[in-house]
Amino acid sequence: MKIAAVCQSGLGSSFMIQMNIESVLKDEGVDTDNIEVTHFDTGGLNINAADYFFLGSDLAEQASDLPQERVFVLQSIIDKSELQEKINTLLDKEGIKHN
Protein backbone atom coordinates (compact mmCIF):
# COMPACT_ATOMS: atom_id res chain seq x y z
CA MET A 1 0.00 0.00 0.00
CA LYS A 2 1.26 3.45 -0.85
CA ILE A 3 0.30 6.59 1.05
CA ALA A 4 1.20 9.98 -0.39
CA ALA A 5 1.33 13.36 1.32
CA VAL A 6 0.83 16.22 -1.11
CA CYS A 7 1.53 19.93 -1.05
CA GLN A 8 2.00 22.64 -3.60
CA SER A 9 5.71 22.30 -4.32
CA GLY A 10 6.15 18.88 -2.74
CA LEU A 11 9.10 19.99 -0.62
CA GLY A 12 8.37 21.11 2.92
CA SER A 13 4.79 20.67 4.10
CA SER A 14 4.10 17.36 2.37
CA PHE A 15 7.37 16.04 3.75
CA MET A 16 6.28 17.09 7.26
CA ILE A 17 2.92 15.33 6.78
CA GLN A 18 4.80 12.24 5.57
CA MET A 19 7.00 12.22 8.68
CA ASN A 20 3.90 12.66 10.86
CA ILE A 21 2.15 9.77 9.08
CA GLU A 22 5.19 7.58 9.65
CA SER A 23 5.30 8.49 13.33
CA VAL A 24 1.55 7.81 13.75
CA LEU A 25 1.97 4.40 12.09
CA LYS A 26 4.79 3.69 14.51
CA ASP A 27 2.72 4.84 17.51
CA GLU A 28 -0.11 2.60 16.35
CA GLY A 29 2.27 -0.36 16.24
CA VAL A 30 1.55 -1.01 12.56
CA ASP A 31 3.79 -3.40 10.62
CA THR A 32 5.06 -1.01 7.94
CA ASP A 33 6.90 -3.53 5.76
CA ASN A 34 4.23 -3.31 3.08
CA ILE A 35 3.37 0.36 3.55
CA GLU A 36 5.25 2.98 1.60
CA VAL A 37 4.82 6.62 2.59
CA THR A 38 5.97 9.28 0.15
CA HIS A 39 5.44 12.95 -0.70
CA PHE A 40 5.17 15.00 -3.88
CA ASP A 41 3.63 18.14 -5.37
CA THR A 42 0.08 18.74 -6.59
CA GLY A 43 1.33 18.32 -10.16
CA GLY A 44 1.98 14.67 -9.37
CA LEU A 45 -1.58 14.06 -8.13
CA ASN A 46 -3.15 11.30 -10.19
CA ILE A 47 -5.08 8.17 -9.47
CA ASN A 48 -2.10 5.87 -10.07
CA ALA A 49 0.38 7.82 -7.96
CA ALA A 50 -0.70 6.26 -4.65
CA ASP A 51 -3.49 4.34 -2.92
CA TYR A 52 -4.27 7.10 -0.42
CA PHE A 53 -3.62 10.83 -0.49
CA PHE A 54 -3.27 13.26 2.42
CA LEU A 55 -3.38 17.02 1.84
CA GLY A 56 -4.31 20.28 3.55
CA SER A 57 -7.81 21.71 3.20
CA ASP A 58 -6.50 24.55 1.04
CA LEU A 59 -5.60 22.01 -1.65
CA ALA A 60 -8.84 19.99 -1.47
CA GLU A 61 -9.93 21.47 -4.81
CA GLN A 62 -6.83 20.01 -6.50
CA ALA A 63 -7.83 16.48 -5.49
CA SER A 64 -11.52 16.85 -6.33
CA ASP A 65 -11.34 14.60 -9.40
CA LEU A 66 -9.80 11.70 -7.47
CA PRO A 67 -12.03 9.05 -5.86
CA GLN A 68 -12.89 10.80 -2.60
CA GLU A 69 -12.70 7.64 -0.47
CA ARG A 70 -8.97 7.63 -1.17
CA VAL A 71 -8.41 11.29 -0.32
CA PHE A 72 -7.96 12.52 3.25
CA VAL A 73 -8.30 16.29 3.58
CA LEU A 74 -6.62 17.62 6.73
CA GLN A 75 -8.31 20.65 8.30
CA SER A 76 -4.97 21.43 9.92
CA ILE A 77 -1.76 19.90 8.61
CA ILE A 78 -0.04 20.38 11.97
CA ASP A 79 -2.72 18.70 14.11
CA LYS A 80 -1.40 15.24 14.90
CA SER A 81 -4.57 14.02 16.59
CA GLU A 82 -6.62 14.78 13.47
CA LEU A 83 -4.04 12.90 11.41
CA GLN A 84 -4.13 9.97 13.81
CA GLU A 85 -7.92 9.77 13.58
CA LYS A 86 -7.75 9.71 9.77
CA ILE A 87 -4.95 7.15 9.70
CA ASN A 88 -7.00 4.92 12.00
CA THR A 89 -9.98 5.17 9.63
CA LEU A 90 -7.66 4.17 6.79
CA LEU A 91 -6.16 1.27 8.73
CA ASP A 92 -9.61 -0.02 9.76
CA LYS A 93 -10.78 0.15 6.16
CA GLU A 94 -7.76 -1.79 4.95
CA GLY A 95 -8.15 -4.28 7.81
CA ILE A 96 -4.66 -3.53 9.11
CA LYS A 97 -4.06 -4.32 12.77
CA HIS A 98 -3.18 -1.39 15.01
CA ASN A 99 -3.27 -0.35 18.67
Binding site: S9, L11, G12, G56, D58, I77
Partner: protein
Amino acid sequence: MQAVINFIVSIVSTPAILVGLIAMLGLALQKKPGTKTLEGTIKTFVGFLVLTGGAGILQGALTPFASMFKFALHVQGVVPSNEAVVAIALQQYGTTTALIMFVGMVVNVLLARFTKFKYIFLTGQAMLYVSCLTAVILISTGMKANGWTIILGGLFEGTLLTVTPALCQPFMRKITGGDNVAMGHTGNIGYATAGLMGKWFGNAKKSTEDINFPKGLSFLRDSTVSITLVMAIVYLVLAIVSGPHFIETKLSSGTNFLVYAITQAGTFAAGFYVVLAGVRMILGEIVPAFQGIATKLVPNAKPALDVPIIFPYGQNALLIGFFVSFIVGTLSMFAMIGMGTTVIIPGVVGHFFCGGAAGIYGNATGGRRGAIIGSAVNSLLISWLPLFILPVLGGLKLAASTFADTDYLIPGILLGNLGSFGQVAVTGGIIAFVLIVIVWSFFLKDSSKKSDSQKAQG
Protein backbone atom coordinates in the same frame (compact mmCIF):
# COMPACT_ATOMS: atom_id res chain seq x y z
CA MET B 1 50.27 8.28 -1.93
CA GLN B 2 49.41 11.03 -4.37
CA ALA B 3 46.65 8.81 -5.75
CA VAL B 4 45.16 8.23 -2.27
CA ILE B 5 45.14 11.94 -1.51
CA ASN B 6 43.56 12.65 -4.86
CA PHE B 7 40.90 10.00 -4.11
CA ILE B 8 40.03 11.59 -0.75
CA VAL B 9 40.08 15.14 -2.12
CA SER B 10 37.88 14.04 -5.02
CA ILE B 11 35.32 12.55 -2.64
CA VAL B 12 35.04 15.67 -0.50
CA SER B 13 34.99 17.98 -3.49
CA THR B 14 32.24 16.02 -5.27
CA PRO B 15 29.09 17.37 -3.61
CA ALA B 16 26.90 14.47 -4.79
CA ILE B 17 29.07 12.00 -2.89
CA LEU B 18 29.42 14.36 0.04
CA VAL B 19 25.65 14.75 0.58
CA GLY B 20 25.35 10.97 0.21
CA LEU B 21 27.87 10.55 3.01
CA ILE B 22 26.04 13.07 5.21
CA ALA B 23 22.82 11.09 4.68
CA MET B 24 24.70 7.88 5.50
CA LEU B 25 25.94 9.43 8.75
CA GLY B 26 22.39 10.46 9.66
CA LEU B 27 21.03 7.00 8.92
CA ALA B 28 23.82 5.32 10.88
CA LEU B 29 23.20 7.63 13.89
CA GLN B 30 19.55 6.53 13.82
CA LYS B 31 20.76 2.89 13.74
CA LYS B 32 18.83 2.07 10.56
CA PRO B 33 19.34 -1.41 9.06
CA GLY B 34 22.06 -1.80 6.44
CA THR B 35 19.78 -2.03 3.41
CA LYS B 36 17.86 1.11 4.45
CA THR B 37 21.14 2.95 4.93
CA LEU B 38 22.38 1.90 1.51
CA GLU B 39 19.06 2.85 -0.11
CA GLY B 40 19.00 6.27 1.53
CA THR B 41 22.63 7.00 0.71
CA ILE B 42 22.15 6.13 -2.97
CA LYS B 43 18.94 8.17 -3.27
CA THR B 44 20.61 11.23 -1.77
CA PHE B 45 23.64 10.80 -4.04
CA VAL B 46 21.54 10.42 -7.18
CA GLY B 47 19.24 13.25 -6.02
CA PHE B 48 22.13 15.67 -6.23
CA LEU B 49 22.86 14.54 -9.78
CA VAL B 50 19.17 14.96 -10.67
CA LEU B 51 19.36 18.51 -9.33
CA THR B 52 22.46 19.24 -11.40
CA GLY B 53 20.66 17.89 -14.45
CA GLY B 54 17.74 20.22 -13.72
CA ALA B 55 20.18 23.12 -13.48
CA GLY B 56 21.33 22.31 -17.01
CA ILE B 57 17.75 22.40 -18.31
CA LEU B 58 17.11 25.70 -16.51
CA GLN B 59 20.24 27.23 -17.96
CA GLY B 60 19.15 26.05 -21.38
CA ALA B 61 16.06 28.24 -21.00
CA LEU B 62 17.72 31.15 -19.17
CA THR B 63 20.59 31.70 -21.61
CA PRO B 64 18.33 32.66 -24.56
CA PHE B 65 16.15 34.61 -22.10
CA ALA B 66 19.17 36.69 -21.14
CA SER B 67 20.22 37.38 -24.71
CA MET B 68 16.65 38.25 -25.80
CA PHE B 69 16.33 40.61 -22.85
CA LYS B 70 19.66 42.25 -23.56
CA PHE B 71 18.79 42.64 -27.26
CA ALA B 72 15.26 43.96 -26.64
CA LEU B 73 15.86 46.30 -23.70
CA HIS B 74 19.66 46.75 -23.59
CA VAL B 75 19.76 45.86 -19.89
CA GLN B 76 20.08 42.68 -17.85
CA GLY B 77 16.82 40.87 -17.05
CA VAL B 78 16.57 38.70 -13.95
CA VAL B 79 13.88 36.24 -12.86
CA PRO B 80 14.18 35.69 -9.12
CA SER B 81 13.82 31.96 -8.44
CA ASN B 82 15.52 30.32 -5.48
CA GLU B 83 15.40 26.90 -7.14
CA ALA B 84 17.00 28.14 -10.36
CA VAL B 85 19.79 30.18 -8.79
CA VAL B 86 20.64 27.51 -6.22
CA ALA B 87 20.71 24.74 -8.82
CA ILE B 88 23.08 26.81 -10.95
CA ALA B 89 25.23 27.87 -7.99
CA LEU B 90 25.55 24.32 -6.63
CA GLN B 91 27.51 23.29 -9.70
CA GLN B 92 30.34 25.47 -8.44
CA TYR B 93 29.67 25.85 -4.70
CA GLY B 94 28.19 22.42 -3.95
CA THR B 95 30.79 21.16 -1.51
CA THR B 96 30.98 24.36 0.54
CA THR B 97 27.16 24.52 0.59
CA ALA B 98 26.76 20.94 1.82
CA LEU B 99 29.30 21.43 4.60
CA ILE B 100 27.87 24.81 5.66
CA MET B 101 24.43 23.20 5.88
CA PHE B 102 25.86 20.44 8.06
CA VAL B 103 27.61 22.90 10.43
CA GLY B 104 24.47 25.07 10.40
CA MET B 105 22.35 22.17 11.67
CA VAL B 106 24.75 21.69 14.59
CA VAL B 107 24.65 25.44 15.32
CA ASN B 108 20.83 25.43 15.22
CA VAL B 109 20.65 22.53 17.69
CA LEU B 110 23.23 24.11 20.04
CA LEU B 111 21.47 27.50 20.06
CA ALA B 112 18.08 25.87 20.61
CA ARG B 113 19.51 23.73 23.39
CA PHE B 114 21.36 26.46 25.28
CA THR B 115 19.55 29.73 24.53
CA LYS B 116 15.89 30.69 24.82
CA PHE B 117 15.39 30.48 21.07
CA LYS B 118 13.84 27.02 21.03
CA TYR B 119 13.27 26.88 17.28
CA ILE B 120 14.48 23.88 15.30
CA PHE B 121 14.37 24.81 11.62
CA LEU B 122 12.97 21.81 9.75
CA THR B 123 12.37 23.17 6.24
CA GLY B 124 15.12 21.30 4.45
CA GLN B 125 15.11 23.12 1.13
CA ALA B 126 15.41 26.49 2.90
CA MET B 127 18.42 25.21 4.87
CA LEU B 128 20.02 24.08 1.63
CA TYR B 129 19.30 27.35 -0.19
CA VAL B 130 20.46 29.62 2.66
CA SER B 131 23.65 27.55 2.93
CA CYS B 132 24.18 28.01 -0.78
CA LEU B 133 23.63 31.79 -0.53
CA THR B 134 26.11 31.94 2.35
CA ALA B 135 28.72 29.94 0.41
CA VAL B 136 28.36 32.16 -2.67
CA ILE B 137 28.63 35.41 -0.69
CA LEU B 138 31.54 34.35 1.52
CA ILE B 139 33.58 33.07 -1.41
CA SER B 140 32.70 36.18 -3.44
CA THR B 141 34.21 38.33 -0.67
CA GLY B 142 37.51 36.60 -1.46
CA MET B 143 37.50 33.91 1.22
CA LYS B 144 38.90 30.49 0.36
CA ALA B 145 36.64 27.42 0.40
CA ASN B 146 38.36 26.07 3.53
CA GLY B 147 37.36 24.85 6.99
CA TRP B 148 37.24 28.31 8.55
CA THR B 149 34.90 29.62 5.85
CA ILE B 150 32.65 26.61 6.39
CA ILE B 151 32.53 27.16 10.16
CA LEU B 152 31.79 30.87 9.71
CA GLY B 153 29.17 30.08 7.08
CA GLY B 154 27.58 27.47 9.32
CA LEU B 155 27.49 29.93 12.24
CA PHE B 156 25.79 32.51 10.02
CA GLU B 157 23.28 30.10 8.48
CA GLY B 158 22.49 28.27 11.72
CA THR B 159 22.04 31.46 13.74
CA LEU B 160 19.93 33.13 11.06
CA LEU B 161 17.58 30.16 10.86
CA THR B 162 17.29 29.97 14.66
CA VAL B 163 16.37 33.62 15.01
CA THR B 164 14.12 34.35 12.00
CA PRO B 165 11.29 32.13 13.34
CA ALA B 166 11.37 34.27 16.50
CA LEU B 167 10.54 37.38 14.44
CA CYS B 168 7.31 35.76 13.25
CA GLN B 169 6.26 34.05 16.46
CA PRO B 170 4.08 36.87 17.91
CA PHE B 171 2.10 36.82 14.65
CA MET B 172 2.07 33.02 14.45
CA ARG B 173 0.31 32.96 17.82
CA LYS B 174 -2.38 35.22 16.31
CA ILE B 175 -2.73 33.19 13.11
CA THR B 176 -2.69 29.64 14.48
CA GLY B 177 -4.10 30.44 17.92
CA GLY B 178 -1.29 28.47 19.57
CA ASP B 179 2.40 28.58 20.37
CA ASN B 180 3.33 25.06 19.29
CA VAL B 181 4.74 25.65 15.83
CA ALA B 182 6.86 28.36 14.29
CA MET B 183 7.43 29.71 10.80
CA GLY B 184 10.42 28.06 9.19
CA HIS B 185 10.54 29.79 5.83
CA THR B 186 12.77 32.30 4.11
CA GLY B 187 10.31 35.18 3.86
CA ASN B 188 10.10 35.65 7.64
CA ILE B 189 11.48 39.21 7.70
CA GLY B 190 8.87 40.18 5.09
CA TYR B 191 6.06 38.37 6.95
CA ALA B 192 6.90 40.09 10.24
CA THR B 193 6.94 43.41 8.34
CA ALA B 194 3.54 42.62 6.82
CA GLY B 195 2.24 41.75 10.29
CA LEU B 196 3.47 45.11 11.63
CA MET B 197 1.94 46.97 8.68
CA GLY B 198 -1.39 45.32 9.39
CA LYS B 199 -1.11 46.27 13.06
CA TRP B 200 -0.30 49.91 12.27
CA PHE B 201 -2.53 50.61 9.30
CA GLY B 202 -5.21 47.91 9.28
CA ASN B 203 -8.43 47.03 10.93
CA ALA B 204 -8.50 43.46 12.22
CA LYS B 205 -12.29 43.44 12.51
CA LYS B 206 -12.81 43.27 8.74
CA SER B 207 -11.19 39.92 7.95
CA THR B 208 -10.50 38.75 4.40
CA GLU B 209 -12.04 35.43 5.30
CA ASP B 210 -15.55 36.91 5.36
CA ILE B 211 -15.36 37.61 1.62
CA ASN B 212 -16.81 35.11 -0.86
CA PHE B 213 -13.96 34.56 -3.26
CA PRO B 214 -14.15 32.82 -6.66
CA LYS B 215 -12.53 29.37 -6.57
CA GLY B 216 -11.96 29.09 -10.33
CA LEU B 217 -8.31 30.13 -10.14
CA SER B 218 -7.16 27.11 -8.18
CA PHE B 219 -5.44 25.59 -11.22
CA LEU B 220 -2.76 28.24 -10.70
CA ARG B 221 -1.72 26.32 -7.60
CA ASP B 222 0.01 23.76 -9.81
CA SER B 223 3.46 25.28 -10.13
CA THR B 224 4.16 23.67 -13.52
CA VAL B 225 1.05 25.38 -14.89
CA SER B 226 1.57 28.77 -13.27
CA ILE B 227 5.28 28.97 -14.10
CA THR B 228 4.69 28.01 -17.73
CA LEU B 229 1.85 30.54 -18.10
CA VAL B 230 3.76 33.46 -16.58
CA MET B 231 7.04 32.64 -18.28
CA ALA B 232 5.23 32.18 -21.63
CA ILE B 233 3.91 35.75 -21.35
CA VAL B 234 7.42 37.03 -20.50
CA TYR B 235 9.11 35.08 -23.33
CA LEU B 236 6.39 36.00 -25.87
CA VAL B 237 6.67 39.71 -25.09
CA LEU B 238 10.45 39.49 -25.34
CA ALA B 239 10.20 37.54 -28.60
CA ILE B 240 7.87 40.10 -30.13
CA VAL B 241 10.04 43.04 -29.03
CA SER B 242 13.23 41.28 -30.23
CA GLY B 243 11.54 40.43 -33.52
CA PRO B 244 11.59 37.22 -35.58
CA HIS B 245 14.85 38.05 -37.35
CA PHE B 246 17.02 38.15 -34.23
CA ILE B 247 15.52 35.01 -32.72
CA GLU B 248 15.34 32.88 -35.82
CA THR B 249 18.89 33.69 -36.93
CA LYS B 250 20.66 33.92 -33.56
CA LEU B 251 18.79 31.60 -31.17
CA SER B 252 16.24 29.20 -32.59
CA SER B 253 18.11 28.12 -35.73
CA GLY B 254 15.06 28.75 -37.89
CA THR B 255 12.18 27.68 -35.63
CA ASN B 256 9.36 30.23 -35.61
CA PHE B 257 10.08 32.85 -32.93
CA LEU B 258 6.73 32.50 -31.14
CA VAL B 259 6.91 28.71 -31.02
CA TYR B 260 10.47 29.04 -29.75
CA ALA B 261 9.35 31.46 -27.00
CA ILE B 262 6.64 29.11 -25.77
CA THR B 263 9.02 26.13 -25.82
CA GLN B 264 11.55 28.06 -23.73
CA ALA B 265 8.86 28.89 -21.16
CA GLY B 266 8.00 25.19 -20.95
CA THR B 267 11.70 24.33 -20.69
CA PHE B 268 12.05 26.69 -17.72
CA ALA B 269 9.12 24.95 -15.98
CA ALA B 270 10.63 21.55 -16.85
CA GLY B 271 13.96 22.51 -15.31
CA PHE B 272 12.15 23.75 -12.22
CA TYR B 273 10.30 20.44 -11.99
CA VAL B 274 13.50 18.39 -12.23
CA VAL B 275 15.28 20.61 -9.66
CA LEU B 276 12.36 20.09 -7.23
CA ALA B 277 12.59 16.32 -7.72
CA GLY B 278 16.34 16.47 -7.04
CA VAL B 279 15.92 18.60 -3.91
CA ARG B 280 13.25 16.18 -2.68
CA MET B 281 15.63 13.24 -3.10
CA ILE B 282 18.57 15.04 -1.45
CA LEU B 283 16.52 15.93 1.61
CA GLY B 284 14.57 12.67 1.87
CA GLU B 285 16.93 11.13 4.42
CA ILE B 286 18.70 14.17 5.83
CA VAL B 287 15.63 16.00 7.20
CA PRO B 288 14.12 13.07 9.19
CA ALA B 289 17.59 12.33 10.62
CA PHE B 290 17.99 15.96 11.66
CA GLN B 291 14.49 16.07 13.12
CA GLY B 292 15.02 12.85 15.08
CA ILE B 293 18.38 13.88 16.47
CA ALA B 294 17.46 17.51 17.14
CA THR B 295 14.23 16.77 18.99
CA LYS B 296 16.08 14.25 21.15
CA LEU B 297 18.75 16.80 22.08
CA VAL B 298 16.36 19.75 22.54
CA PRO B 299 13.46 18.40 24.57
CA ASN B 300 11.20 21.48 24.48
CA ALA B 301 11.96 22.40 20.89
CA LYS B 302 9.50 24.30 18.74
CA PRO B 303 9.55 23.03 15.17
CA ALA B 304 9.84 25.80 12.56
CA LEU B 305 7.92 24.51 9.55
CA ASP B 306 7.39 25.43 5.91
CA VAL B 307 5.10 28.31 4.96
CA PRO B 308 1.98 26.38 3.78
CA ILE B 309 1.19 25.42 7.40
CA ILE B 310 -0.58 28.80 7.66
CA PHE B 311 -2.42 28.62 4.31
CA PRO B 312 -5.56 26.99 5.74
CA TYR B 313 -5.84 29.90 8.22
CA GLY B 314 -6.41 32.46 5.48
CA GLN B 315 -7.26 31.10 2.07
CA ASN B 316 -8.72 34.39 0.82
CA ALA B 317 -5.84 36.37 2.31
CA LEU B 318 -3.47 34.04 0.46
CA LEU B 319 -5.03 34.84 -2.91
CA ILE B 320 -5.37 38.56 -2.18
CA GLY B 321 -1.76 38.64 -1.04
CA PHE B 322 -0.61 36.83 -4.18
CA PHE B 323 -2.45 39.16 -6.56
CA VAL B 324 -1.43 42.36 -4.77
CA SER B 325 2.15 41.13 -4.60
CA PHE B 326 2.26 40.17 -8.26
CA ILE B 327 0.72 43.48 -9.38
CA VAL B 328 3.19 45.49 -7.28
CA GLY B 329 6.00 43.34 -8.69
CA THR B 330 4.83 44.00 -12.25
CA LEU B 331 4.55 47.76 -11.66
CA SER B 332 8.03 47.70 -10.12
CA MET B 333 9.30 45.94 -13.24
CA PHE B 334 7.91 48.71 -15.47
CA ALA B 335 9.47 51.30 -13.16
CA MET B 336 12.85 49.56 -13.56
CA ILE B 337 12.49 49.50 -17.35
CA GLY B 338 11.72 53.22 -17.22
CA MET B 339 14.70 53.90 -14.99
CA GLY B 340 17.06 51.83 -17.15
CA THR B 341 18.30 49.66 -14.26
CA THR B 342 18.64 45.88 -14.28
CA VAL B 343 15.07 44.60 -14.57
CA ILE B 344 13.62 42.21 -11.98
CA ILE B 345 10.80 40.16 -13.54
CA PRO B 346 8.17 39.11 -10.97
CA GLY B 347 8.67 35.40 -10.26
CA VAL B 348 5.34 33.65 -9.86
CA VAL B 349 6.53 31.17 -7.21
CA GLY B 350 8.05 33.81 -4.94
CA HIS B 351 5.03 36.08 -5.23
CA PHE B 352 2.67 33.21 -4.53
CA PHE B 353 4.36 31.85 -1.42
CA CYS B 354 5.80 35.05 0.04
CA GLY B 355 3.09 37.41 -1.18
CA GLY B 356 0.34 35.04 -0.10
CA ALA B 357 1.87 34.47 3.32
CA ALA B 358 2.38 38.22 3.79
CA GLY B 359 -1.34 38.61 3.04
CA ILE B 360 -2.17 36.11 5.79
CA TYR B 361 0.08 37.88 8.30
CA GLY B 362 -1.37 41.27 7.35
CA ASN B 363 -4.91 39.94 7.66
CA ALA B 364 -4.20 38.46 11.10
CA THR B 365 -3.26 41.86 12.51
CA GLY B 366 -5.13 44.25 10.22
CA GLY B 367 -7.89 42.51 8.27
CA ARG B 368 -8.46 43.27 4.56
CA ARG B 369 -6.54 46.55 4.62
CA GLY B 370 -3.73 44.84 6.53
CA ALA B 371 -3.57 42.03 3.97
CA ILE B 372 -3.31 44.47 1.07
CA ILE B 373 -0.81 46.87 2.67
CA GLY B 374 1.23 44.02 4.19
CA SER B 375 1.59 42.12 0.94
CA ALA B 376 2.28 45.32 -1.03
CA VAL B 377 5.13 46.32 1.30
CA ASN B 378 6.53 42.77 1.22
CA SER B 379 6.32 42.85 -2.57
CA LEU B 380 8.30 46.11 -2.72
CA LEU B 381 11.01 44.35 -0.70
CA ILE B 382 11.17 41.26 -2.92
CA SER B 383 10.88 43.32 -6.11
CA TRP B 384 13.62 45.88 -5.43
CA LEU B 385 16.11 44.19 -3.09
CA PRO B 386 17.33 41.73 -5.78
CA LEU B 387 18.94 44.76 -7.47
CA PHE B 388 21.12 45.17 -4.40
CA ILE B 389 22.05 41.53 -3.89
CA LEU B 390 23.30 40.97 -7.44
CA PRO B 391 26.56 42.92 -6.93
CA VAL B 392 27.61 40.76 -3.95
CA LEU B 393 27.01 37.42 -5.68
CA GLY B 394 30.35 37.22 -7.50
CA GLY B 395 30.07 35.15 -10.68
CA LEU B 396 26.28 34.88 -10.27
CA LYS B 397 26.01 38.65 -10.65
CA LEU B 398 25.28 38.23 -14.35
CA ALA B 399 23.05 35.17 -14.03
CA ALA B 400 19.52 35.49 -15.36
CA SER B 401 18.13 34.32 -12.03
CA THR B 402 18.69 35.27 -8.40
CA PHE B 403 17.41 34.82 -4.86
CA ALA B 404 13.78 35.74 -4.32
CA ASP B 405 12.77 35.88 -0.64
CA THR B 406 13.48 38.50 2.03
CA ASP B 407 15.56 36.25 4.29
CA TYR B 408 18.06 35.66 1.50
CA LEU B 409 17.99 39.24 0.29
CA ILE B 410 18.34 41.26 3.50
CA PRO B 411 20.95 39.14 5.37
CA GLY B 412 22.72 38.48 2.05
CA ILE B 413 23.00 42.17 1.20
CA LEU B 414 24.25 42.96 4.72
CA LEU B 415 26.83 40.16 4.70
CA GLY B 416 27.99 40.89 1.17
CA ASN B 417 28.46 44.59 1.79
CA LEU B 418 30.37 43.83 4.97
CA GLY B 419 32.67 41.94 2.62
CA SER B 420 33.69 45.18 0.91
CA PHE B 421 35.42 46.13 4.19
CA GLY B 422 37.53 42.98 4.03
CA GLN B 423 37.43 39.52 5.49
CA VAL B 424 38.10 40.70 9.04
CA ALA B 425 34.84 42.65 8.86
CA VAL B 426 32.95 39.58 7.61
CA THR B 427 34.41 37.40 10.36
CA GLY B 428 33.74 40.05 13.02
CA GLY B 429 30.24 40.64 11.68
CA ILE B 430 29.25 36.98 11.81
CA ILE B 431 30.68 36.48 15.30
CA ALA B 432 28.95 39.66 16.50
CA PHE B 433 25.66 38.40 15.02
CA VAL B 434 25.95 35.11 16.94
CA LEU B 435 26.85 36.93 20.17
CA ILE B 436 23.98 39.42 19.82
CA VAL B 437 21.53 36.55 19.41
CA ILE B 438 22.93 34.78 22.49
CA VAL B 439 22.85 37.97 24.60
CA TRP B 440 19.38 38.85 23.29
CA SER B 441 18.20 35.46 24.48
CA PHE B 442 19.03 36.42 28.08
CA PHE B 443 16.56 39.27 27.88
CA LEU B 444 13.83 36.94 26.65
CA LYS B 445 13.42 35.49 30.12
CA ASP B 446 10.44 37.61 31.07
CA SER B 447 8.50 36.99 27.90
CA SER B 448 8.86 33.22 28.16
CA LYS B 449 7.71 33.36 31.79
CA LYS B 450 4.76 35.45 30.73
CA SER B 451 3.74 32.94 28.12
CA ASP B 452 4.07 30.18 30.72
CA SER B 453 1.73 31.99 33.05
CA GLN B 454 -0.64 32.66 30.16
CA LYS B 455 -0.62 28.95 29.46
CA ALA B 456 -1.43 28.26 33.10
CA GLN B 457 -4.37 30.64 32.97
CA GLY B 458 -5.62 29.23 29.69
